[in-house]
Amino acid sequence: MKKALGLLLVLMLVMSILVTGCSQPAKEEPKKEEPKQEEKAPEQKIKVGFVYVGPIGDGGWTYAHNEGRKYLEEKLGVETIIKESVPESQEAEKVLNDMIDQGANVIFTTSFGFMDYTEKVAKANPDVKFLHCSGYKQLDNMSNYFGRIYEARYLSGIVAGMKTQSDVLGYVAAFEIPEVVRGINAFTLGVRSVNPDAVVKVKWTHTWYDPAKEKEAAKALLDEGADVIAQHQDTPGPQQAAEEKGVWSIGYNTDMKEMAPKAYMTAPIWNWGPYYVQEVKAVMDGTWKSSSVWEGMKDGIVQLAPLTDVAPPEAKDAVEKVKADIISGKEKIFVGPIKDQTGAVKVQDGVVMTDQELLSFDWFVEGVEGKIK
């Protein structure tokens, strides 16, 4: 018994030494070696961190970001570090701190749920630059960036609206957040621009990344009569469901042609590479300023993947025409009259919804079958 007590005391001593030992120099900045090198070289030694919500192999959202990262490495030759499958919880905060500890000085956090944690860590580390994807918070050292993917979704809606025979379309969606709601609305407007009778049914999965769950949701939609499946999910699960059923699908994030060759028609896709290069280059040049970026097809962040042979032949011309209008600014997409699900006019004729309204979208347009909690 005495032995155990002795051991306990020793452990406590060790513990207290550790704690006091590490509490004192805490003020001195944990990454002491890095700044020295910075001082010597006029060009900052840049280490870029990427925090991903899913695994790189998801074939979707995270995959697209990682392609952007590879493009960045190739173009600028900077060192990058990554952490995949980070939960949108306190774990994210820890991962950010870990990355700073490992010398990262520019960090991209690529999921909405990382926003608050990014903000918290950004406040504590003013020397590190943070770029958060898909959120709205901004600090002196924290940008937010996103793309107007709804533009491409609108185009994909045109393809889907032309293809459907049952006039029922399924939409597998992750969370009831404005980003997703906006996408569903844009898609529906696109569908109904060519097929006014069609409806879009929505199923929520409450996960960004869960191949099985996403597929199940798609199957449920197919059982309800949908013959085109679109998705706001990070994996090709819904595409496979459509492929198995022998109907058609619209992908998301990346070109998903190979995952469902008989079903896949096109997909709104991301192209982050150029943006990443631009931002990191600005940091290297010392010209970086925090910003709130929301670019669309005009800048190339957002694109529509090439239409496959499965897509209706007449769709190509229609899409090209509208696409040109979007890039030129002629087609604003969310422009009145827009009715909500009850049929009441929410946006008056000719009125264009502001970005602010788009960023807090919390209602569905007419033609959507589904509920926002």
Binding site: A4, G21, S23, I81, I82, K83, S89, P178, D362
Partner: protein
């Protein structure tokens, strides 16, 4: 057969330490092969595993922060295990503790800090204790299998928090993103020497639980009951009462761990708040052979493994799954070594004093 397995009747501390060390070395050697398959240098990976856990003040702090809930939960589990009540429900008890603490944090965000934190702590312990009380009651009353009930109740607790997160407690200001609002500053545990004061609780609790188990009447009754229910009844121990009180304490400690995680680490409630601590703590408790001081050691080592494992992921670009395989391999060998602490292999022909100390 060339070798045979013989039960050890007794083992010196030095010898068991030696066996554990050998197990770790073996684990490292086996993992080295795996690391080489990944085209990496094992020595570098191991060095950074240690560096990742203890290499800087920041990392030591992170390791300690990871160890805090492990220590407290392990202490709680140890009390139940001492009674041979297999409480697999630490995860759920943490969840419910975090839930009850969050209730006060969200409902009374403006209470003075000491009052609010005390309320949260009491709520956490009571909720964790009550959550453990349910299987304890069933066991005491109808001798149900506590392993299954505690395990199932984990899922109920997790789903309950999920429901709150997506439903009634969802943050209205998060634009539909399913999260529960962050706590006010008054509901967040303060730091002491750079780490949230959970570490002080953990150290104090180690001493308290040690004294409780070794020198209190209740601790003694728990130990007797764990060894033989017949003897306990014979000695006039109220078996039902002992089971229930022990589980209230066991669950209460897990609930406190939940409160600490919600308050100091997440600053809110979510399904990730326990992060598997309830299960990991079973391993640390077992490794520490239910002894409070050794729980500290086992928890720190485990936290270091988690922390270091996370570090090498980013440092070497190892996929998350591969890092987990490494952690799993090390764990496998260390747990496997427990077998050799209880048993030993003797070569046939050298069966000298095989059973050590027999009846004399």
């Amino acid at each position: 057969m060339l070798y045979k397995v013989v039960k050890r009747s007794e083992i010196t501390q030095g010898k068991s330490f030696g066996i554990r060390t050998a197990a770790i070395i073996l684990a490292l050697l086996t993992s080295a092969v795996f690391i080489m398959i990944l085209n990496l240098n094992p020595l570098e990976v191991y060095a950074s595993l240690i560096k990742g856990a203890f290499g800087s003040n920041y990392r030591i702090k992170q390791t300690i922060i990871t160890a805090i809930p492990l220590v407290i939960t392990s202490l709680g589990i140890a009390i139940a295990f001492k009674m041979k009540f297999w409480n697999i429900g630490g995860e759920g008890q943490i969840m419910m503790g975090a839930f009850a603490a969050s209730f006060f944090a969200l409902r009374y965000p403006d209470l003075p800090k000491p009052i609010l934190l005390s309320l949260m702590m009491i709520a956490g312990m009571v909720a964790g204790g009550l959550w453990a009380l349910i299987p304890a009651f069933f066991k005491a009353q109808w001798e149900t299998n506590e392993t299954i009930i505690t395990l199932m109740m984990n899922y109920i607790a997790i789903k309950w928090v999920t429901y709150l997160q997506y439903g009634p407690w969802r943050d209205k200001g998060a634009l539909g993103f399913p999260k529960i609002p962050n706590f006010s500053d008054n509901a967040i545990l303060p730091n002491f020497l750079g780490i949230h004061i959970g570490w002080i609780f953990a150290l104090i609790l180690i001493i308290v639980v040690y004294i409780f188990m070794k020198h209190s009447k209740l601790g003694y009754e728990i130990a007797v009951l764990g060894e033989s229910e017949n003897t306990a009844r014979y000695a006039g121990i109220n078996v039902k009462r002992t089971i229930i009180i022990a589980l209230l304490i066991s669950g209460g400690l897990c609930g406190l761990a939940g409160m600490i995680q919600a308050s100091a680490v997440s600053n809110t409630l979510n399904v990730e708040v326990s992060g598997g601590v309830g299960f990991t703590a079973i391993i640390t408790t077992w490794l520490a052979s239910l002894s409070a001081p050794f729980i500290l050691l086992a928890s720190i080592l485990f936290a270091a493994l988690i922390q270091g494992g996370s570090f090498i992921q980013t440092a070497f670009g190892i996929p998350a799954a591969a890092a987990m395989i490494l952690e799993g391999m090390i764990l496998f060998f260390v747990l496997g070594s427990e077998f050799f602490i209880k048993y030993k292999l003797t070569k046939n022909g050298s069966a000298k004093s095989a059973a050590g100390k027999g009846e004399i």
